[in-house]
């Protein structure tokens, strides 16, 4: 019953929205709905909840200003979400579900399988989508409405490798990652970047679901690498790999050119003394007070604790930029115009600072929103911190 009522309500809202954009220029409030699409439950829930939090924060900011100025009217912004359960089917279903409720702009999804599933359906319905997967085909010329929240490994890996080489002077690296899309797509890019810096790189892929990494560790160490890089292995796996590497007597530095989760890695590995020498890619300059201010903003506007995931800080920029593009394009329905406006928007965020549009050389389309990121380091069991690395426009 309630469902039917809700559906007719939705239909009414959509119909009303269409009438207003059609002309009239009436005074009644309108509503822009953005969708947060990602894993809201299960093992990857943190990612999805970070996206949802980012969308909610951007919406709250816009509403606090009195709403979005879309053409001649002011519109409130609301957020709908859908749980993809980290599957392609779930993501496709989510796009349909959100689109049927009048959503034209998507924040997310985040994992490679989800993005693969969501992208074609979103294209079919002409939704604008801000995805964040490290898949090699995450965006491309055939999907003009799909934007990428970046930078991707092709952007962030080179400066980190350069800095790591300065610090540790390694000449060989062994990269380990799961044998699925989330693993192979990053590890192979990482390997290429290491090689470009004159470092011999070997790649090793393990079966997703592996519980004991001792044999993999033995294999990794057979080539006697100076450094082992855990790439995008899930934090739990990476922590265990670190621990078993140390048990096997490996004393060299360990890298992680893949994603966040350093705290969990330290926890699973058995403490920062076990980790000893470690460098990693951090999605945002986490120690920048201006970046951290996003969390305070979240508490102030939404009156609750922000999701505990640094991805939040990144996603906020994507959500803010989308809303700004809607205002600039003067439409909340014609996603082509919004996309055109978005491409023209300078990347300048009050919290994260200056970024750039990138992606042309790697994806063939300049729709990757590259923001400053961080490189974290642990030296001799001491947390050195996260340094800010700015991106350059292409």
């Amino acid at each position: 019953m309630g469902r039917i009522a809700k559906r007719s309500l939705v239909a009414a809202v959509v119909a009303a929205g269409l009438t207003f954009t059609a002309g009239a220029g009436a005074q009644t409030t309108c509503e822009v709905r953005i969708g947060a699409l990602g894993p809201m439950s299960g093992p990857a829930a943190q990612w999805g909840l970070a996206m949802l939090g980012a969308a909610e924060l951007a919406a709250a900011e816009a509403n606090a200003r009195g709403g979005l100025q879309v053409g001649s009217q002011r519109c409130s912004v609301s957020v709908l979400s859908y749980d993809t359960r980290y599957t392609a089917e779930g993501a496709a279903a989510g796009v349909n579900n959100l689109a049927s409720q009048g959503v034209r702009f998507l924040i997310g999804p985040v994992g490679s399988p989800e993005v693969t599933g969501a992208k074609p359906v979103a294209t079919r319905h002409r939704l604008l989508m801000f995805a964040n997967s490290y898949a090699k085909n995450a965006i491309g010329p055939q999907w003009p409405l799909v934007f990428h929240l970046g930078p991707g490994p092709s952007e962030w890996a080179p400066p980190i490798v350069r800095l790591a080489k300065e610090q540790f002077g390694m000449r060989s690296v062994a990269i380990v990652a799961p044998n699925d899309q989330g693993g192979t797509d990053i590890a192979s890019v990482d390997a290429e970047v290491y090689r470009q810096h004159g470092i011999t790189a070997t790649e090793e892929y393990y079966q997703r679901g592996t519980t004991n990494f001792a044999p993999i560790v033995t294999r990794l160490l057979a080539s006697r690498p100076d450094v082992v890089d855990t790439a995008s292995s899930p934090p739990g796996d990476a922590g265990l790999i670190v621990r078993q590497l140390r048990q096997a007597g490996f004393t060299g530095p360990i890298g992680r050119l893949g994603g966040p989760g350093t705290e969990e890695i330290i926890r699973v590995a058995g403490g920062i003394d076990v980790v000893r020498n470690f460098y990693w890619y951090e999605v945002a300059p986490t120690e920048d007070p201006r970046v951290r201010a996003i969390s305070d903003e979240y508490r102030r506007l939404l009156n609750r604790e922000p999701p505990e995931n640094t991805n939040l800080w990144l996603w906020v920029v994507g959500a803010r930029m989308t809303l700004r593009a809607i205002e600039r394009a003067g439409t909340a329905t014609d996603t082509n115009r919004v996309a055109a406006a978005l491409r023209e928007l300078p990347v300048e965020d009050p919290n994260l600072g200056r970024g750039a549009w990138t992606g042309q050389s790697f994806f063939g389309i300049n729709q990757e929103l590259s923001l400053p990121f961080g490189m974290g380091m642990i030296l001799d069991g001491r947390m050195v911190g996260v340094r800010r690395i700015d991106v350059s426009p292409q």
Binding site: Y82, D83, N96, G117, Q142
Partner: protein, 336 residues
Amino acid sequence: MEARSPSRWGAQEWAAVAMFLAVLAVPWATDDLLVQSIVNRVLIGAMAALSVFIMLRMDLLSFATPAFMALGGYAAVLLTMHGVTEVLLIVPASFLVPALVALPLGALVLRLRGVYFVLVTFVLTEILQLVLFMTPRLTGGADGLAGFPAPTLLGTELSDARSVLALAAAMALLAAVITAALTAHFRQHFAAIEENEVLAESLGLVVWRYKAMGFVVAAGIAGMAGFSLGNMLLTVHPTSFGAQQAVDTIVYAIIGGRGSILGPIAGASLLVTVSDFLGNQGQYAQGLFGLLLILVTLVARGGIAGAVAALARRLRAPRAAAGPAAAAPEAARGGA
């Protein structure tokens, strides 16, 4: 087994086909994307569950449905990528490729019964996953295949939401017709195999022939479901064809009711819809499936379809005096 198998369809077979015929109208009846999306996933789930259902008719529980779905899905998508987009060609291909693989495979695995068959099909699905990962050139490996051309019907491109759903409905209708024809035609053979295979064999039933037939058709129907899934997602991806999907399709078939062709359809309709309405509590869908599975096994062996049939009989019973006696064989079949 000398009683000639009456290939006459019962009310349930007609009802199943009528339901899918009705679904064919859905793409034109509503523009609601949510409804279309749920109906599309129900159709795919129901097709996969029909494949499980056919195997259950022979008392075989198969975890290999996702493996055959993958074969069908990848085969059809690879065809479109090589320029063959005609639906009248790729739909049969999505049926035939897994069916042809199932033929020699069946000669090997159908000798196993009971839990041994369960285990071998479980292992098959795991192996297929690894094979997909290890053949990136052909199958795209961990990335799957995406960005393939839309299928065409006599030159007309079927790429908008409506024709995607219509194609899914047509394939599901085809799957239901094939399943109904197979299970009705061989009803007594399958019943004999389900009841006591050894006895059936000693009575002169060439058991392996019927089992092979069932296995091949089940594989083909799974393959069509795989293509339908690929067409909905516009991608075929290894994560769509794992052990999790095997569990889901089995759950659809069992909860819907393994005693009737309407069972898998009812199960897929209910469970796909319910898990969609769980929204952001999606993580609890599996727990709900588990509880329903336990409940159905303990108290309603015929599943939803069996329970509805029993209820209908009870409502009719006061008029027809022989109610309970007539109900007994049906209940026994549902619970066997």
